[in-house]
Structures are given as structure tokens and as C-alpha cells.
Subunit: 304 residues, 4 copies
């Protein structure tokens, strides 16, 4: 497989670099807005142990909402199914930062991958330990999954996020008012902003995703049943109100971040990371989504 896969990655990199429309870099925080647009990376960690990549695969980027996957795994490991009393697992049909659904459903976010649900997930982690330890534990989880201790949190990004995060402050205060936040909004958000500011390269992210691949030799951080459930939530909710489209076009569980990264899992076979900072109208990486679609087609990778 390795030659075919390496060739596919090289082809995709070459084809996509010829794109005339690279999307728009996220502008909601200055630290993301200044990332150069014309960058693209793709990396695959295979179940056989190989790591393949093309493009800017050693350039670090802010994983942003992809961190919600790791945080959810951690929260479920600590709190188990009682987390589901605080957050649902249904697609929301709304934008990532919508507050409408939250009001109609009295403070229970639809799923852990919209911002409100991710804030609740982080708040649940904080029920077991203080912020500093919680972040350390999350970072340890990610580093263990990626087998790479150099992965770090970009404090400048976290600070930028805090100073421009009014919509998240709105969500957290609303959750608190509904009785679905255990810690002060500032405290939970402080942790949440740092979690989103984890920085990785595409190669690191592909390696970190291996804990969901379910194959011998992969890091075993959660049970097989939980892997399946996490993948199910990624497939139905991982791309906000474009989740259905990603399932339709790519057919793999995935999670995108506003920094331009996407992590996708081929159960039993591979972990894929792509990155390109330009976003499409739904807030997902434009070239990243296209790369996922091409790779899935080229390798005949689909869960369906």
C-alpha cells in the first residue's frame, strides 16, 4: 500500500497547489488571521505503522476544534456516560457557535463538537482537577497518542482567543445561567481557550489520531467500543452544519478546526491529517476537505 499511498499524497499535493481559490483564513482572532494562506499539508499514519506525508507537513498550526476530540475522549474516560446528561450527541443543524438551539433546549448542547458542547466537556474535565492539571493531562493524552513530547500549547493564540472570544463568553454564561456549567465561565473558558491553542504539524496530528484507528500496534488509550462511538460522533457532528456533506463526499469520521486542520479516521486502517488555513463558507478547510475527498476516492477508503 505504501507506494500507492505515497503517490496519492504527492498527486493531491500537486493538484491542490494549482488551485485558484484557497478559501479565506479565519479572521476572528488576530493570531489566526495572520497565517499565510497558501499552505497545504497532508499526512497519513497507517495501521501498519507507516507515516506518509506531502506538502507543508512539518509546519505547525493551531488545531482549534480538533482538540474537542481529545477532550471528549478524556472526559469520557473520567466521567463515563454521565457526561451525556449534560450534552447530547445529535447533529445540531446549526452553525458551530449558535446559541439558538441552546435556548430552545434549555442549556443542553446538541453535541460535544459545537462550541457550547465542547465548553461543557471541558467543564466536566475540570470537575476532577484544577485547570493547570487538566491541561497537563490533556496535553499528555495528545503527546502519548502522537508519541511526541514536543507538542505544546501556544499561549499567544490562547491569549488572543480570550480577548476576542465574546461569543464563547456568551455561550458559557448562558450555560451557567441554565445550570449546566459547574465552574465560573472565566475559568472553564480559560482552559478551553488553551485547549484550542494546541499546536501540531500535520504529521503529528496524523500520529495523534491513531488512538482511534483500532488496529494492533496503535496506541491503546480508550476501549474499542468508545473508539466506535467517538467515530460515530465525528461522522455525524464533526463538521458543524456541513457534517452531512463531509459524510456524503468523504465517507469517513472527521473533525475540522478553524485553524484549517482536519483529522479523519479510516477504522482499522489509518489516521489522516490535512491542513490548509483557508476556510470555506461553513468554516472548514477548503483545500483540506477537497484533499480528504480525493484521498478517500484514490484509496477506496470509506466506512460505507
Amino acid at each position: 500500500m505504501s507506494d500507492r499511498l505515497q503517490q496519492a499524497l504527492a498527486d493531491i499535493d500537486a493538484e491542490l497547489r494549482a488551485s485558484t481559490d484557497w478559501g479565506q483564513v479565519a479572521t476572528y482572532i488576530p493570531e489566526l488571521a495572520r497565517v499565510p494562506l497558501h499552505q497545504f499539508a497532508i499526512a497519513v499514519a497507517s495501521a501498519e505503522g507507516g507515516l506518509y506525508s506531502a506538502g507543508d507537513a512539518d509546519t505547525g498550526f493551531s488545531i482549534q476544534s480538533i482538540s474537542k476530540v481529545f477532550a471528549l475522549a478524556l472526559a469520557l474516560g473520567r466521567s463515563g456516560d454521565q457526561l451525556w446528561a449534560r450534552v447530547g450527541r445529535e447533529p445540531s443543524g446549526s452553525a458551530f457557535n449558535s446559541i439558538v438551539q441552546l435556548e430552545y433546549e434549555r442549556g443542553i448542547p446538541r453535541n460535544p463538537f459545537i462550541n457550547a458542547g465542547a465548553i461543557v466537556t471541558t467543564d466536566e474535565i475540570l470537575a476532577h482537577r484544577p485547570p493547570r492539571e487538566a491541561l497537563a493531562e490533556l496535553l499528555t493524552f495528545v503527546r502519548t497518542a502522537a508519541d511526541d513530547d514536543t507538542i505544546f500549547i501556544n499561549d499567544a493564540v490562547a491569549a488572543s482567543e480570550r480577548s476576542h472570544g465574546h461569543r464563547n463568553f456568551a455561550l458559557a454564561n448562558f450555560l451557567y445561567a441554565c445550570g449546566n456549567l459547574k465552574n465560573a465561565p472565566e475559568l472553564t473558558l480559560g482552559t478551553y481557550f488553551h485547549q484550542c491553542a494546541i499546536e501540531m504539524t500535520a504529521r503529528q496530528l496524523a500520529l495523534a489520531g491513531r488512538f482511534l484507528v483500532a488496529a494492533p500496534g496503535m496506541p491503546r488509550l480508550i476501549s474499542r467500543a468508545r473508539m466506535r462511538r467517538l467515530c460515530a460522533i465525528m461522522l455525524t457532528c464533526g463538521h458543524y452544519d456541513a457534517s452531512g456533506d463531509f459524510a456524503f463526499r468523504v465517507g469517513l469520521p472527521g473533525k475540522s478546526g478553524v485553524g484549517g486542520g482536519i483529522l479523519a479516521i479510516v477504522p482499522g486502517r489509518a489516521s489522516i491529517a490535512v491542513w490548509s488555513p483557508g476556510l470555506n463558507a461553513n468554516g472548514n478547510s477548503k483545500l483540506g476537505t477537497e484533499a480528504m475527498e480525493r484521498l478517500a476516492a484514490a484509496m477506496d477508503w470509506s466506512v460505507f
Copy 2:
């Protein structure tokens, strides 16, 4: 596999018949309301060609919304991707018959499996031929898939549905007012009500589902790429606002009907049909959902 599978079906049948809570039979049309509650059937058509079943697997039931899967396959076959200009493919986050999303999104239903989207799909089929021929063609599709010419449309159910279908009349008239219905509401709904009134046994439905299994020997009615896409929509949208939960618990693309049936696909391996007329709060078969979860666990069947 056959012995293990047959044993699993028998076990599930035995266990679920001991249930104290069988849910509630749908009451919105008289023909469904009078179906006896305590019935259960499960059937599996395997890629190897076997057909296995347990329970009331030769009792006919109204497939209702499961017909949307066949109608969508037919509409895509005729109209191709231009159907997607009229209906989305995102989970709706709403109940099956909600009109709210339709108003906010100006008459474009979220996906083909909520009622509004299914009405548009049927309307698209009618663009190519009159109602009688359209229904004949749909029935031929289903009979070919199941290799069974005895499958029929229950006219009494269709008539009952028409005389109690005010909410569907609301949806169709709203779609028409938004310019997203090509035929008169009465005409499209007349066809839609008949489509929903297709009657099958669990064994017949399991056989009919084989066109989505993607394995040698299965009826080949649509392309491999389209199979994957249909399965993707089933996984993200097949159980209304409990789609995420079905993906989480069962991990298979499925489609439920208010008659108590559920069709699920194990790509490359099997087509599963369950039936029990009692519904849960989301309008999906209560025992049927539980049976799917048990069977998927017992056979280690999951796309994830």
C-alpha cells in the same frame, strides 16, 4: 457465520419478547393504530446469499418512511445530482415533520429523509412521468431489489394517510409557495402517500436492502459511489432527531419508518430488517432499535 448469525437472531427474538415496555403504536393514522403491539421480527440477508430470520418475519407491515431510501435511489437515478439543488443532505436537528427549518431556509428541506425532503424527492420523480407510472417504477425497483413480485402497495393505508395527512399537506403547500414543488400538492402527496404504503415482511425488506450492500451476487441497481452516498445519508439523517444516537449505539446506516420497521446496511456484508410496531419517543421502533444494537454488538458489525 450462518450458525452464529442464526443463533444471534433467535437470542435477540427471545430476549426482546420478554420486554415489559414495547413502546407505543403510531396513532396518527387509524390503519397503523390498529396494528397489534406485541409483534417482533428480525431478518438478515447476507452478502453470501443467505437469508436468516426470527420472530414474525413473514408478517407484512407498512414500510412508511423506509420507502424514502428507495425513492431517493430512484430519483438520483433519473435526475442525478441536480436533485441536490432542491434538497440538502444535512441532518436537520428537528423532528421528522417540522416546518420551522423549511421557513428559515426558504423552502429547501435539510435532507431527503425528513418528510419535506421526501416530498420534494417524490416530486422530482414525478417530473419524469405521471403518478401511476412513477409508482409502478418504484414498485418495480423494490421488487427487483427483493427479487419478489408479490410486494404491493396497501391502498387502504394510502387512503388513511391521505385523509389524516394535514401536516404533510401543510408541508407540501409550503414547499409549493416557496417554488420548490413542481406538481400540485395534491398530486405529489397522492404519490407520496402510496409510496409510504408499500407493505413488506421483514424477510422481504432485508432482501430489498441488498442493493446497498455492495458485494458480488447482490442486485446491482445503482453505482458503488451512489451506494456509499445513500448509506452516508442514512447514517447522518436516517432516524430524524435520533440519528446521532443510532450512529452512536448501532454504528450502521439505517432508516426507520413509523410503521415500526428499520432497515440497516452492513456495507459489503449484510442487509438487516427489523420490525416491531411500538415506537419510542423519537418515533422510531423501540424494540427494533434495541434489536439493531444487540445484533451489531453480537456480530461485531459497525462501520466504525
Copy 3:
């Protein structure tokens, strides 16, 4: 007062005819779409018994939603306060034909002046007699109020409305599905479309509005308390989602129709009718609203 009033009307007519923007004629039914745009009329029936007018005050127009005022008076006369179990009396904050609020509030329209609420009001009238008699009674009410037996229903408009009334069919079927329509949707809507097709001149409409003026010599068709309540609903709900703006700018209870007419009441003093078929973005007569604002200012007429 009479000279000053007559002068004010003449001035307003002269000023508004110099307008460069007359709004847009309603296009949703052909019969309204073909009404010539550049028409304007204003008429005032004073408590002293005078009738003053300017412009095209003898040209007939379709009163459309202004009929809801007469229908509500009639329904309250027959059913009394039990009507309020079926329809609220709060501003809706939504467009006149929105179905969203109806779904969230389970089939109870916000007030009798949005379409859904008016359909329920007409349906309530039909609880007491068949459509033909109900329409005759409504017409008698209007003719008595105006003291003019030549007022009639324009059947061509009613027919046009029926054949293009899909959104109203959506509302009526939705109401029926919620259990808040006693008659078949077709029957209630048939009556409703005829009610909306009542035709009057501005002079006739000003006279017809006198039953709400509460002064000696005015036609006494309803109690003083009910006059106040009807005026209250007109002020808070009479201009759909521009009701607050009309109260702010004009300060009088009023009701607009999509045919370009507006009826306003100066309690104890006068009934005002204006008409100009061009509508503004909210679906209210553009010049009509401006004329009301100018007249209220010129005569120092405001309830506040």
C-alpha cells in the same frame, strides 16, 4: 375642525402625489398585481358626522386583511371570550404569514391579525353557521357600519386568492393537524378568501370604521369595552412586524391590508381610511403609512 381637516387632507394628497417612490404593488395574486400603482386616497369620517376626503376616494380596492377587524368583531360577538382559547392577543414579532411561531406554540396563533389567527377567527365564525350565511352576516356587518348596501365581495379576487393561496393552505392544514381548526381547511379558507376580497372605496372604509369610534351618532355594533379591546389589538398587532413602528410614528390603532388600504381609529373622534396600492418592505401601504403619519401630526391626533 372641518375646514382644517379638509385642508390637511388636500395638502397630504398634494404632497404625496409628488412622491418619487410609491412602493411596490403586491404581486402574490394576479388580481392585485394588475392594480395601477399611482393611486392615492384618504378619507375621514368624523364623530360629528362629517365625511371628508381627497384623492381617489371613490375608487374601489380590495380591503384584504383589514377585513380581519370586522371578522374579529363578529366572532367575538358570537363566541365571546372563548375565542381567546384558540388564538392569543400578543404581537407576533414575525411576518404576517409565518408558520414558525405556530409550530413552537403548538397551533395557537399569536393574534387574530396574522394570517393563521385570522383563519382561526373565520373558522370560529363558521362554527355557528355555514359559509354562505357567515359571509352574508359579515357583509351585513360591514354594510351596516358603513351604512352602504353597495359594498360587495369581488369573486374574481377571491378565486385568484384561492388559486395562489398555497401558504395559507399550509397554515390551515397545520392548524388542522394541531387540532385548532374545526372545519376542513378548504371550507374555512374558502370563506376566508371571500372575506379578504371585500371591496370598498376609501370613503366607504372610513364610514365602516365608525363602529370603533365610540361617540354619539356612530353606529353601535359592539360594546364600548370591546371597542377598546379591538383598538388595543389593532395598535399592538395591526401592522404585522411593523406594528411597533406604526404606533411609534402614528400613535393610532390601525390595520393594514395587502391591497394597500389602512384603517385607523382616533377614539371618540374619527375613523380614517387611506389607500395607495404600493407597499413597503413590511407589506404595508407605503404612501398610506406616510399619509397617516402626516394626518396624525397635522391634527394632533394620537392616543398618547
Copy 4:
């Protein structure tokens, strides 16, 4: 009038004190929750200069949202009609603290009397001077209107409000994220919480309301045109989603507060203040609303 009015107040006080259901004291902040339930006051300042009262008319209470009337008058005085670019003047059809409408309408609150609109109004006042001066100016406005320099802001209530105001923090942060807050959420809310914590007796509030009465001898703080407009907004929006009901039952412009107070205006004739801390389901004073209805009926006071 004075004897008849004094008798009416005494009768209402006597009748309402016999009530078995006094509603529920607001519980959302501790300072309000501990106010004894069985209190009632009514006071009227007439255009002729009299001040009449009954019940606990010298007991101070927190005016809460009634302060929005004074703040709006002040903001309009400073900014004029440009305020309307930031906030609408339509009834919202929603609860006082809803965030749903705000998201659908991109951060423009429906009117200045729902919380979001009041926060914007306060923010506008702060555009002209710092918080301390803004509060001083508002207090001066109120004291001048009431001709009473002892009116004060209860700092304990303001502090309690701040520590329990998560929903208001959600609204303010949301407004900020939409670009419709000029100051930091904490700063605007700090001012807003103090404004709401103004304390008055019913007699003081009746006197303070005289600036809206429009009669010789009344304090003239704003223009006649602006009085009318403020009254129009009070009538259409003054009681949240029960505004239509208040207009229907009482027929006067009014504004309620969660502390149990209501201020109503009889244009040209009187300013009425009632207070009873128990609220009804809509968050308006239960006995207060009843008292207003009885007084309006007894004195034949209605704008309609």
C-alpha cells in the same frame, strides 16, 4: 376627581389584599427573593398636581426594568434617533431575556425594553460619559422628574445582580460579538445593574412618571413628540410577551419591573405606580397588573 380617585385606590387596596394568590417573588437574585410577598401599594400623581395613594406606598422597592424608561429617555436626549440604528422598536414576541431573536437578527435587539435592548441603550449613554457620571445623570433625571433628591441606587441589589447576572453577561457578550456594544461587556453591565437597582416607593415612582403625562405643571424633561413615542413603545413592548395582554386589559402604556413595580401613564391626566412583589408567569407583578386593570376601569382611563 380627587375623592373618586382616592376612593378607587382604597377599594382596590382592600380588594386585592383579600387575594389568596399573590404570585411568586422573583428568585433570580437573593436580594429580591427575600422581599416579603404580602405587600401592595398604589399611587397616582394627577395632572392637576395631586398625589394619591393606598397601601404600602412609602415602602421602597427595586424598580428594576422600569428604569429602562428613564434610561431610554436619557439616551434619546443625548443621541437622538441614531439610537434606532442599534435597537428596534417592535414587540419581540419573546421572553425578556431571550437570546434567540438576537441571533436571528444579527445583534439588533427588537426594542429597548427587553434586556438586550436595554443593555444597548445603557451602552449608548456610556458613549457620552463614563459610568459614574452616566449613573449620576440618570439619577438626576429621575430625581428631577420626581422632585425628590432622596431617591437612590441600592448598591447591595446591584452587587447581587452582578453576581447572578450570567444571562445578562451572555446577552452583553453576544451583542459585543455582533459589534453592537461599544464598551466592554463588564463596563456596560456594571452600569446597567446599578440602573436597575434604583429604589423608589410607589409615591416616588408615580411622581417620577409625570414627565410622560404631558400636562401643564408636569416636569418638562422631554419634548411632547418624544413623550408620545415613549408611550407608544411602553404600550407595545412594556410587558415583554404579555404586552398585548396589558394593552387589551388595561389600555394604558406601562412598564413593569421584576421587583414587582409597574408604571403606567394616562396621557394628559395621570401617572400611576403600583407595586406588589409577587409575579405572574410572565414575570409581571400579579396584583399590580390586576390593580392597573381595576383602576383603569374604575376611572374610565384608557387611551382607546
